[in-house]
């Protein structure tokens, strides 16, 4: 970030510089690092170091609030007189950074699957991960993944058998299995699905009879007919998916 911010300053792109700093604080520091720090991974030295670094970067833009926060960190020196952060090639951990991004992706994907299945935040689900070569990395972040993806239990193995009746997430060579029964209240879901199937079937029926109606076929413009046909095949597809899902629940 620092390199880019410096470049923006050189080119008088102050808005870009400010936005980059803010994005770092928000989407990197707050959304991830602080969250991770809530668990056993807490490292006050780094947490404070990064906080100080971004306060310095923020200072030209928002001098007052940054200086006020600084007062809680440093009693002697004022932020206004601090040194501007510099790029440090000693502190560029390319490999580890990639690993962390993998963990973010994993957590994000589990989270979005949860929301896809409308799983209540309070409900813990279970996961089994076949991590291949990434087992060491994931093991060392087991607590983070478990907590941030709201998992009840998490097993990390090098590899294993396919697990039936599970949702599977693939990220490169990693496979994440999430048993469906954890995510779904089967009875409730069956109920919902069969209702939806009935509705779909009724709709498809009426669409079909419309397309079989000679009057409609003769009089309607070609594009309209094409559209209706397309619609029918889409709806039939969805119905098939719903039925498959129904089967998987039983």
């Amino acid at each position: 970030m620092i390199k880019e911010v410096d470049k923006d300053f050189e080119n008088f792109r102050l808005s870009d510089a400010g936005t980059k700093i803010y994005d770092f604080i928000w989407s990197k520091y707050c959304d991830w690092y602080l969250e991770i720090s809530k668990g056993e991974n807490k490292n006050p030295a780094v947490l404070l170091f990064v906080l100080k670094e971004f306060l310095k970067l923020l200072h030209p833009f928002v001098p007052f609030v940054s200086e006020k926060i600084w007062e809680f960190l440093e009693k002697k020196d004022m932020l206004i007189a601090e040194n501007w952060p510099t790029f440090d090639k000693e502190l560029i951990f390319t490999k580890e950074a990639k690993g962390m991004e993998l963990i973010h992706e994993l957590i994000n994907k589990i989270r979005s699957l949860r929301s896809e299945f409308k799983v209540e935040p309070s409900k813990k689900i279970n996961a089994i991960i076949y991590a291949g070569d990434q087992k060491v990395l994931l093991d060392s972040n087991l607590e983070v993944i478990k907590r941030m993806a709201l998992l009840g239990s998490l097993e990390i193995k090098k590899s294993g058998q396919k697990i039936p009746e599970s949702k599977i997430i693939c990220i490169k060579e990693i496979e994440v299995y999430l048993p469906l029964k954890d995510m779904i209240d089967t009875e409730k879901e069956l109920n919902r699905v069969s209702k939806e199937i009935t509705q779909k079937e009724r709709f498809i029926k009426s669409l079909r009879s419309k397309l079989n109606n000679q009057g409609f076929i003769k009089n309607a413009p070609k594009e309209v007919i094409e559209k209706e046909k397309e619609r029918l095949s889409e709806e039939e597809n969805t119905l098939k998916k719903l039925k498959d899902f129904q089967k998987s629940l039983k």
């Binding site: 390199k3 008088f12 991830w32 780094v46 170091f49 952060p85 972040n141």
Partner: protein, 626 residues
């Protein structure tokens, strides 16, 4: 508890205290360190009697961001603050105040009036100073300047005298924009235009019929003009003819001039050299006599017979009546007209011929090798060759075009408040000289020792044109001037690129032979939510101080900087500022959360590479430090 961070950030509670802490610490005052290049910004001086508006606020926000960054980078970062005496604006304000007490400047006399102005300025300077502080501006108050302070006055006189002795400054009769209310000349860019429905009078004019919007100026006509290719009038060209008028017959010459539009009216126009810019130029080209009929108060002069003493409007009415009686009025039409008015008071401009001081922009004077360049050429060159960068670059072209078409600059103003022109006239003969103070020696021509100073003052842009170097102590050989000049960035609105930035380039390259600044950064104008320009009359203005009071300075700063790019106008409205207050709160909350997760002992840790442990640590540090 002192170490406990409050739940919510209350800007109002902290800002003034923090500013005081900074200012008291001396951190705004850089040290001269010849081993490194300084970073310098001259603050565009707000009017000494003004109040802070959003235009100032955006200027202060951007400059402060740059200064703080460069200061943190370890450079000697100097930001010179100051105020402008803004001659006409300030004089008008004080005159308005005097009028409430039934006084005017003529009753008081020059000296007493200027004392009143001085008092008024001193009072209101404090207001603008504190408003600059409110924005968080980390400028060096120990180096604050005023365009009318002793040092700057000395610099102004020095430059004037140099130019005078170089023959660049001359006095001449010229047609100028004149405001009869302010009783002063106005620069071209101090004239505003108002579209109006006006009457166009078609009048019998000897053997011709012609259209004019100002029949009263007939009293000052010395010619009629036609286009050289207009066949209708070919046989008249060059002839002198007698025209019947309300004050008897008078003589005009028929001239042919390219400037005449054969499609306007009947293709023939009357020429009043003393009261129209276009006509003055025609008169110059054809060596026509110039006859003034309107005086500096906008009244008809002694040579106007029974109309003498009338205002131009009164005179127009009377003269039309008389012309109707004589059967000279053919018809009256309405037409749309762009009336020029004074930008200060809205009074219609009266073009007048008067004696004024000018800077000759076309005289070769700057020596370079065997050649001599004009000040205009030099000012074009430094931008063209990239010695001065303009951000955004689209303004480079506009600048060059404007500069290449620059005419002699009229620098005298008929007002009292300002830098008095340092020219002294011998009362006994026509001798004159330029000097900072009244000459003590006798006149070299007639040996008398009676000197009187020119009564006029200088255009306010003359002194602000010297701003980058006069504020650093020039013409004294100060350490500040040696170290801090040329400055690094000139940051201002694109609307004063010509008013001011161009003039600084002219004055500095002439006086010092160096540029005033390396980069010009131009910000856009501020518009309201729907994109309209903010103005008092439209009632869509936002008071930055009220916004600071409500949402805090940081939020106001962000709303002016984030999402805007150099040279492009920006929209500001209260919800936007309120949005950035939430942004500030988020920053506060994240820091607060971080602080709640560490102990006092943790805060004393001296961070080293050894502290970086987990993958997450490495990831966050990489993302910060790369």
């Amino acid at each position: 508890m002192e170490n406990q961070i409050e739940k919510a950030y209350e800007a109002k509670k902290y800002e003034d205290k923090i500013y005081k802490k900074w200012e008291d610490s001396g951190v705004f005052t850089p040290k001269i360190d010849k081993s490194k290049k300084p970073f310098v910004i001259s603050m565009p001086p707000p009017n000494a009697t003004g109040v802070l508006h959003l235009g100032h606020a955006v200027m202060l926000a951007i400059e402060d961001i740059l200064i703080r960054k460069h200061r943190m980078m370890g450079e000697s970062a100097l930001w010179v603050p100051g105020t402008d005496h803004a001659s006409i604006a300030t004089q008008n304000k004080v005159e308005q105040l005097l009028a409430q007490k039934n006084l005017d400047r003529h009753k008081l006399g020059r000296e007493k009036f200027l004392e009143e102005v001085k008092k008024y300025v001193a009072n209101s300077q404090n207001i603008i100073r504190n408003q600059i502080r409110k924005m968080g501006s980390s400028c060096d108050w120990t180096r604050e300047r005023y365009t009318l302070d002793e040092g700057l006055t000395n610099a102004v006189q020095e430059v004037f005298i140099r130019m005078y002795n170089d023959g660049l400054i001359y006095r001449g009769n010229r047609i100028v924009n004149w405001c009869p209310r302010c009783e002063s000349t106005l620069a071209d860019d101090e004239v505003e235009y108002k579209e109006l429905k006006e009457k166009l009078y078609w009048i019998k004019y000897g053997p011709f019929i012609l259209a004019t919007s100002r029949p009263e100026t007939k009293l000052g006509d010395t010619a009629v003009a036609v286009h050289p290719k207009d066949k209708r009038y070919k046989k008249w060209i060059g002839k002198k003819i007698m025209i019947p008028g309300v004050l008897g017959e008078f003589e005009v010459t028929v001239v042919a001039d390219e400037a005449v539009d054969p499609k306007f009216g009947t293709g023939i126009i009357k020429v009043t050299p003393a009261h129209s810019f276009a006509d003055f130029e025609i008169a110059q080209r054809h060596k026509l006599p110039v006859k003034s009929v309107i005086d500096q108060k906008g009244k008809m002069m002694e040579n106007c017979g029974k109309y003498a003493g009338m205002t131009t409007t009164e005179c127009r009415k009377e003269i039309l009546k008389d012309m109707e009686k004589m059967g000279l009025v053919e018809k009256i039409e309405e037409y749309n007209h762009n009336l020029s008015v004074c930008y200060r008071c809205g009074t219609p401009i009266e073009p007048l011929v008067s004696r004024q001081w000018f800077i000759n922009v076309d005289k070769p004077i700057i020596k370079e090798g065997n050649k001599k360049k004009t000040i205009k050429e030099k000012a074009v060159e430094v931008v063209k060759e990239g010695k001065i960068q303009i951000v955004p670059t689209k303004f480079k072209k506009i600048y060059s075009h404007w500069m290449e078409n620059l005419h002699d600059w009229c620098i005298s103003r008929q007002i009292w408040f300002g830098h008095r022109i340092p020219v002294w006239y011998c009362k006994k003969c026509d001798n004159q000289l330029a000097a900072k103070t009244k000459p003590k020696t006798a006149c070299s021509k007639c040996k008398n020792n009676h000197w009187t100073q020119d009564p006029d003052t200088l255009d306010t842009w003359f002194s602000s044109g010297l701003w980058t170097f006069s504020t650093l102590g020039w013409p004294e050989k100060t350490k500040d001037f040696e170290y801090f000049h040329p400055t690094s960035v000139m940051e201002t609105g694109y609307d004063i690129l010509f008013f001011w930035v161009a003039r600084m380039i002219i004055m500095t390259t002439y006086t010092l032979g160096e540029i005033p600044f390396e980069t010009v950064y131009l910000h856009g104008l501020i518009r309201d939510k729907s994109g309209k320009k903010m103005s008092k009359s439209a009632g869509n203005g936002i008071d930055p101080l009220e916004m600071i009071e409500k949402y805090g300075t940081d939020a106001v700063r962000l709303s002016l900087v984030i999402g805007s790019t150099p040279g492009n106008d920006m929209r500001i409205y209260e919800e936007k500022i309120a949005g950035y207050r939430n942004f500030i709160n988020k920053i506060w909350n994240s820091a607060r959360f971080a602080l709640m997760n560490v102990s006092e002992k943790d805060k004393k840790i001296k961070f080293t590479k050894k502290h970086i442990k987990s993958v997450a640590d490495k990831w966050i540090i990489r993302n910060c430090k790369n």
